[in-house]
Symmetry: C2
Subunit: 223 residues, 2 copies
C-alpha cells in the first residue's frame, strides 16, 4: 500500500519512514526545499531515500524566506544552548510549516491514490512547535477528508505519526533496531560551511541527548 | 486591520479583495505561481494588486507539476464545453490546491500578526471543487487554531469567503459597484499564445454566463 512520507534528511523522518516501511507501506518520499538555512538536509534526504529504497522521491521547492518569520528562513540568529525544558516556542518555529508540508503531501497522495501520510513529528523531546502535537494531526486529518475529491468520494486519509509519543532515545533505539543508518542524516539548524553540526542549536542538543540516553554513538559526530 | 488575500489574477479573487478592502482591511496580497498552464494570471495578479492599492504583494512559487494530477498542471487536455450542471469533479481540479494556498496564506498571516485570510471561493457557479465548499473552510479554520503559535496563544484565525454563496452574476455586480476593473483579470484555463481566452473551458463558460446574467459586458472580450 502506498504512503507519502515527508522526508527531511533528519533523524526523525528517516526513522518514521523506516517504521512505515516495516509496517508494509510502499514509500513515496516527499522532500521540501523551503529556503531553510540548513538546506544541506535536502542532500541528506536524497541519501536517506536511496537507503530506504523508496518507490519515488519527489522534491518540491517553496521559498518560505519570502514570508520569513523564523530564524530558519531569515537572518535572525538561531538560538544557542537553549533550556529545552522552557515552554516558550523558539524562533526556529516556522509559521505553518507542517500545515504547508502536509498539504503538499496530501496533494501528492491524492494523485497517487494513496490514503496514508507519514510525518516524523514528536511531541516529547521537541521544541514545542504547535504543529507537532496530536491535536494538530487530528485537525489535519479532518481537513483532508473535506478538502479532496478522494475525501468527498468516501476515502479517509490517515496521518501516521509513529514517533509522536516517543522520547528521542526511544526513536533512536527503534531506528537502530530497524537498521537505520543515522550517519546519512543531518539535524543541525545552522551547520558550518563544511556541514559540521554546530552542537548548540535545539536540534543538535536534542540529538545529542537522544544518543546519550539511548547509549549509542552518533555516527555523524564520531565519524 | 491586516488581512492576507489570495489573489490569482482572476475575477473572483479580485472581487473578494475589493470587498475586504471596502470592509476596512489592509490588503496583503499573496499570489501563488504553482506551475499552472495559465501562468499569465500571475501577471494579471500584479496589475490587480496595483489597482487595489495593496500594502504588500508577495509571490510564492511551488511547482505542482511535480505531483501533477490535474489538467492544469500536466499535459492532460483541459475539458471543453462541459455541462456545468454535471456533478462530477472535472480534471481541472488540482489536488489539495486550496489547502496548500491557505496554508501558505496562514504562514504569512502569522508573520504579519494578521488573523484574517480572504479567499474568493464560490460554491454556487463553480466547477464542484471540494476545496471551495463551506465545510472545507470551517475545517481549515479549526486547523489554523491548533497549527500555529498564534493559535496556541489564543488567536482565532478567520477565513473570509465573501463570494461563497453568490452567483457569478452577483459577484460581478458587486465588483462593478465597488469599481473593480475586470479588464485587468484573466480567467481562461488555457489561453492562446496571445493571451486570448479560449471561450470553452469551465472558467470561460462560467465567466461568460456571469457577465450575461449580470447584464454587463466583459471588458476582456469586448476590448
Amino acid at each position: 500500500m502506498d504512503a507519502v512520507v515527508l522526508l527531511s534528511g533528519g533523524l526523525d523522518s528517516y526513522t518514521a519512514a523506516a517504521i512505515a516501511k516495516s509496517d508494509g507501506f510502499v514509500l513515496n518520499a516527499l522532500t521540501i526545499d523551503y529556503g531553510q538555512r540548513h538546506v544541506r538536509e535536502v542532500e541528506a534526504a536524497r541519501a536517506v531515500a536511496r537507503a530506504l529504497g523508496v518507490a519515488r522521491h519527489q522534491e518540491l521547492h517553496v521559498d518560505l524566506r519570502g514570508i520569513g518569520g523564523s530564524s530558519l528562513t531569515s537572518d535572525v540568529d538561531v538560538p544557542r544552548d537553549r533550556d529545552l525544558s522552557a515552554t516558550d516556542i523558539p524562533s526556529t518555529y516556522v509559521p505553518a510549516r507542517n500545515t504547508i508540508f502536509l498539504s503538499l503531501a496530501l496533494g501528492w497522495a491524492e494523485v497517487l491514490a494513496a490514503r496514508d501520510l507519514v510525518i516524523g513529528v514528536n511531541a516529547l523531546d521537541y521544541s514545542g512547535y504547535p504543529d507537532c502535537r496530536p491535536e494538530f494531526i487530528e485537525a489535519f486529518e479532518a481537513l483532508a477528508g473535506v478538502a479532496t475529491r478522494a475525501g468527498v468520494e468516501g476515502a479517509r486519509f490517515r496521518v501516521h505519526t509513529p514517533l509522536i509519543r516517543l522520547t528521542k532515545a526511544e526513536i533512536i533505539r527503534e531506528g537502530l533496531r530497524l537498521g537505520v543508518d543515522y550517519g546519512l542524516t543531518t539535524s543541525c539548524y545552522d551547520p558550518g560551511p563544511d556541514g559540521a553540526p554546530c552542537g548548540s542549536c535545539d536540534s543538535c542538543l536534542l540529538r545529542a541527548k537522544g544518543f546519550a540516553e539511548a547509549g549509542a554513538a552518533d555516527p555523524v559526530i564520531t565519524n
